[in-house]
């Protein structure tokens, strides 16, 4: 199963439409999408609206690939749960977010080779196909449960001087 999530803030029809189109061509693979206020009418995926953290985690755990916007919450969840993740950043110029921080953070994490990134819809479709056709996609990076020791120690020192 592929789990598609765009967070809960704003619609992201460019991503939903691209994944819906690719879902039509891979009918043997179930695709479940968390959408909000989408103007695009989904045809080939199962959709769900807002999920509680418990429901969200269940779908997340069952998926073999996560496709999402470049929101850090989803990215961090994928890296800690060792789920392969492919992101497409929202663009401010298309009204998808207030600014282009998703583009910047996606590029940064792409450079670090933590995540798969598609910068437009065509690349997104190509990368989904390539990832699932190569067998079970593997996570690129694994994060532990906590922040870096450096940050934890700095906070402890500041709070308990």
């Amino acid at each position: 199963m592929i789990f598609v999530t765009i967070g809960t803030q704003e619609p992201f029809d460019r991503l939903i439409k691209a994944v819906d189109e690719i879902a039509a061509t891979i009918q043997e693979e179930e695709v479940i999408a968390q959408t909000s206020e989408s103007a695009y009418v989904v045809q080939h995926m199962k959709t769900v609206a807002f999920l509680s953290p418990v429901e969200f985690n269940k779908l997340f755990d069952e998926a073999r690939l996560i496709v999402s916007h470049a929101g850090m919450g989803t990215v961090i969840s994928a890296l800690t749960k060792q789920k392969p993740i492919l992101v497409m950043p929202r663009r401010a110029s298309l009204g998808e977010h207030r600014n282009d921080h998703q583009m910047a953070s996606a590029k940064k994490l792409h450079e670090l080779n933590f995540i798969h990134v598609a910068y437009d819809e065509e690349e997104l479709k190509e990368k989904i196909l390539a990832l699932i056709e190569a067998g079970d996609p593997q996570p690129l990076h694994h994060l532990g449960e906590w922040a870096s020791d450096e940050l934890i120690q700095s906070l402890q020192k500041f709070v308990h001087p």
Binding site: L79, A104, E145, W146, A147
Partner: protein
């Protein structure tokens, strides 16, 4: 030591939970914007405030009063937040109750500190960035929530 940890739901919240390890021996209470997120911090007091993320002025004001009320009743020694608007409220209100306040700018801010983070610099006792390039005399870099 009593800590109040604040973040709006989503990425800010997930980053906040990764800091819990720093406060093992302390009492931590949480503030966020959706009640269902209480399930992610079992055993802790959890306060829900209205979601001001869409910058609806009335809701922001309500949220600010609610945050201030919680801080006055809970009397934390330390307030820590990873953003966004609710965290800034906690930093500002925390200043008035004499708590030590810590702002950690979201890891999503790779190229510049967030607008809320810039405002937090005027109120917080310490502001962290999670990217070394953004550190300066007022903003500290010391690792990030990745590990």
């Amino acid at each position: 030591m009593k800590i109040i940890a604040i973040a709006s739901v989503g990425g800010h919240w997930i980053q906040l939970l990764r800091l819990k390890q720093a406060f093992k021996g302390d009492e931590i209470e949480f503030i966020s914007t959706k009640e269902s997120f209480a399930a992610t911090v079992p055993g802790h007091v959890f306060h829900t405030i209205p979601d001001g993320s869409r910058w609806n002025k009335m809701k922001l004001l309500q949220a600010f009063f609610k945050v201030t009320g919680i801080l006055i009743r809970s009397k934390p020694d330390v307030i820590i937040t990873t953003g966004a608007a609710p965290g800034l409220m906690g930093i500002v209100a925390g200043r008035f109750i004499g708590a030590k306040t810590i702002w950690i700018d979201s890891i999503a801010n790779v190229e510049k500190i967030s607008l809320s983070g810039k405002i937090a610099q005027k109120f917080a006792n310490r502001v962290y960035t999670q990217w070394p390039d953004l550190a300066n005399s007022k903003v500290v870099y010391s690792g990030n929530i990745l590990s």
